[in-house]
């Protein structure tokens, strides 16, 4: 690939100050060495130390490595290097990898291999029967313990839900965040972090000025449905049971994933959103498969200044193998391998022609998996229109949906210019979050475009 676009590189920054610092290093004059080959780009830059820092980027990830002492990931040097590649590609010379690049790339390949081996090892029974038996015993003991804790936690949740409805939503709202937070903390103790998050979010719904009672009751009802389903997990179809477990807070293990078949395709990395959740940052990357026509969601978490794992950069298309987590409506996936990234210029093949078609599709999704929080959205012929304090996205058939208030609506309006454009985003059943669009043969992210 020729490298990344400016928007893609900025999207990789862990926070705005890193983006700015990276931009400051995006000029070739600062680098004493700038080289690349087909798979990686590397450089040397003088920092505050005696020797220059050595920065390198594995273009396939992208993954970063730098000798500077910064704890941020990627550091400003990594961002700067990619920015130089994006804006001044002629100044980055084709060359053979020096030893320090060969070494790091080899280490990466070895780690990846080792992880894969461990995963398969864990999945297959060990040769030593005693070791294997002991491992199994430990595992089942932990599992049983967790099951019990979760069951107790969910029982408490049921009582709490009934009490909340019995005393009334007004009383609950007046009680303030304390009422929700205590129950959420109890669920965390019960090893049900997913349920805990669903409870915690009630605080933000209750704080809304308009429609809060609808949102709160919806969430309480959803939680109720979750506890009911958890009680009869065995009688549910396997995929739906997987969704229930996922919503409560169990995650699919690497071993389980390793055993599932992968889906190979050329995937458009159409859009991305990074959100702050309590103490974590969550990154959602949406992919559309060119041949299979499937949609996939890559989820990444980072705590504090920790890096997100490598994921294909939005605005590119990659040949990748994804493995979908079991679900009644499979969306979430993990990346098994990726290669051969190229720039993305449009994602119209995946787009619905109208909101009606997309809403039908969403209806089936929400009905199949009621705890699905958002479905991917790709629609062509869309124009944003202002309606007083809110914005609507209008399609070509005379229908409209409300845009989420966090969408940078004026950027969207400027890119559209009153012309219909193809948009990729998320639909949460209430409002549409427009994340990226294509126009004039360019892929344009809507968030962080002009900040």
């Amino acid at each position: 690939m020729d490298g990344f676009t400016l928007e893609q590189v900025l999207a990789l920054a862990p926070d705005p100050s890193s983006a700015k610092a990276g931009q400051g290093l995006g000029s070739p004059a600062k680098w004493s060495l700038l080289q690349r080959d087909a798979s990686a780009v590397w450089g040397e830059i003088q920092g505050s130390g005696k020797d220059p820092y050595r920065t390198q980027v594995d273009l396939a990830g992208p993954a970063f490595h730098c000798t500077c002492p910064s704890r941020k990931f990627p550091c400003k040097h990594g961002l700067g290097l990619l920015l130089v590649l994006a804006a001044h590609p002629a100044r980055v010379v084709q060359a053979e990898q020096p030893p320090w690049v060969v070494e790091w790339l080899a280490k990466r390949a070895a780690t990846a291999e080792r992880k894969a081996t461990i995963a398969t090892e864990r999945a297959t029974p060990s040769d030593d029967p005693q070791l294997h038996a002991r491992r199994e015993a430990e595992r089942s003991k932990r599992a049983t313990q967790r099951d019990e804790r979760v069951r107790d936690g969910l029982d408490e949740l049921r009582l709490w839900l009934a009490d909340t409805v019995r005393n009334g939503l007004v009383a609950a709202r007046q009680g303030g965040a304390r009422s929700w937070d205590q129950m959420a903390a109890r669920l965390v103790d019960a090893q049900a972090p997913g349920a805990a998050r669903l409870v915690r979010e009630l605080a933000s719904f209750a704080a809304r000025a308009d429609d809060w009672e609808t949102r709160v009751l919806e969430r309480l009802a959803l939680l109720w449905l979750l506890t009911e389903s958890a009680r009869r997990l065995d009688s549910l179809p396997a995929e739906l049971a997987a969704d229930v477990r996922q919503s409560i807070g169990w995650s699919t293990s690497d071993a389980e994933l390793a055993a599932l078949p992968g889906v190979r395709d050329r995937w458009c990395v159409a859009a991305q959103r990074i959100e702050d959740e309590d103490r974590l940052r969550v990154r959602r990357t949406w992919l559309f498969g060119r041949e299979t026509g499937r949609c996939a969601l890559l989820l990444s978490f980072s705590a504090g200044a920790q890096p997100f794992d490598a994921a294909p950069a939005p605005g590119s298309s990659v040949e990748a193998e994804l493995v979908f987590h079991p679900s009644a409506w499979p969306l979430r996936a993990s990346l098994r391998s990726s290669a051969n990234a190229q720039a993305l210029t449009d994602f119209t093949p995946h787009a619905s022609a109208s909101f009606e078609a997309a809403l039908q599709h969403a209806a089936i999704a929400f009905a199949a998996q009621p705890w699905l929080e958002r479905v991917p959205w790709c629609i062509e012929g869309c124009i944003p229109v202002r309606d007083g304090a809110r914005w609507l996205a209008c399609d070509a058939q005379g229908h409209a949906l409300e845009l989420h208030p966090s969408t940078p609506a004026w950027t969207f309006a400027a890119v559209s210019g009153g012309h219909p454009v193809c948009v990729a985003g998320e639909w949460d059943g209430e409002r549409l979050r427009a994340l990226a669009c294509t126009s004039e043969g360019r892929w344009i992210p809507l968030e962080g475009a002009s900040s």
Binding site: S48, V165, R166, A363, A400, L401, G418, S450
Partner: protein
Amino acid sequence: MNAWQTLVSRALVGVQETTPASAAELPTELEELLAAHLSSSTFEPLAGGGAHAQRHLVAASVVATWRRAGRKSLPSLAPPTAAPDESMRLLPRAAQSSLRRLLAGEFAIFARAWFARAAELRWRIPPELLPAALTFAGERPELRADFLRVCGERGVWLARQLPYKSFAAGEENEDWETAKGVWRFGYVVRVRAKDPAAARELVAGCWKTEAVEMREILVEALSENLSEADESWLESVLADRGAKVRANAIELLARLPNGALVQRMTARADGLLRKHKGSPLSSARLEVELPPELDDAARRDGLDAKSLPRSRELGERALRLSFILGAVPLAHWTQRLDADVATIVELAARNEHGRALLTGFSIAARRQRDAVWAAALLESDVKLDPNAAATPAQLRACLPRETAVKLLRAGIAREGVLTTPPTGWTPTGEALIEFAAPWPRALQHDVAESLQARLTVGALRPLRSGLERVFLGLDPELAELCLSPWSADETGASALFELVRFRAEALEALESAA
């Protein structure tokens, strides 16, 4: 949806035993589903009297899922008229990244030059950067003209969609009535360029209703295409309550050589300034009287202490003399005093009231854009109070550019750009800081040479702000040359190096073909 509303309203107050069970108006399938579930063996009623709440939650979960899945779209609204197609090329990638940094507030001092160059090369800002760029240019009036040249059709279209009146929205006649504030100012300026009388009518028409701050700038808006037709209205403004409004009106009236104000001031001045012809024993000199007590006419003409600026060097009556002289056509003096400009200036400098005289002449030179007088005043050594007199930069602006450049080069040759040791700027250096780019090559070379000769490491930080402005006038290579003896880290003036480098790269990016 009624069933949901009922569920919500009941839940708001609390679902107690006494609350009648269940909701009405559910679609039949849901009603049946609910009934079946509630009566089946898998339904386990909660202990402790929560049964009604439980039933409520079960019903709510069914209806909520149904609502969410069955969400319908809203009726669409009419989209705005589509923006016209663009004819200009899109800004190249590398230049887009320079623009992003400028819009983020970095290298603010370079923004104007960047926009000017981008406009010259006829680039177009990418649409996703337009909202930020519109705000940026809205806050910086000096950028607006160039912004309008690079924003493309889409930029004007976007400005017209905004809920407030943007400077970029262009003329829209009907909006004069509803629009307020600074938009009216822009509108008057645009109309004045095409139809001066109409602009004056507009201002006169809204005069009674506008606040004093608006009246001040509306008068200024009439400064282009000033003519004698404006005189009678401007004279009426002399009775306005706002001091600055009156002062602005006087500024304009003083530029009408056949006007009544000028004639009044000339009459006053003739009584105060005379030349005494020399004799073989004594040289020629000027006789100056300070103005007498104020009368109503003088107050109306803005000569009272409250209307005039405050000056530390000139007393009240001396200042009044200056402002009287400031309204007199300079040609009058060469005739009446029967001497050339240089002589008059020299005689004035020697006079005991020299400061007041020269201040007055400088004000007149600025208003009348008189190059000869401006040059003569610049040559004279007398330092004038910048509160009252025209500043050297303003006088220089009256000169044709070549003359200004010549004076600057002479100044550089005489005293250099920096003092020795380089703790500050010489008067020529200060003049350079104000002098607008682009500078002709010869001047640039002189400046670069002078800098290279005197600039030291220690001076880079204290003189940073002046150096930034001077470097903007030099071509990027020359600027880098001046900084080449040092590197960014050792000087502690990394911001200066950043600016020079950023500017060099940004300008290069603008020149690139794609």
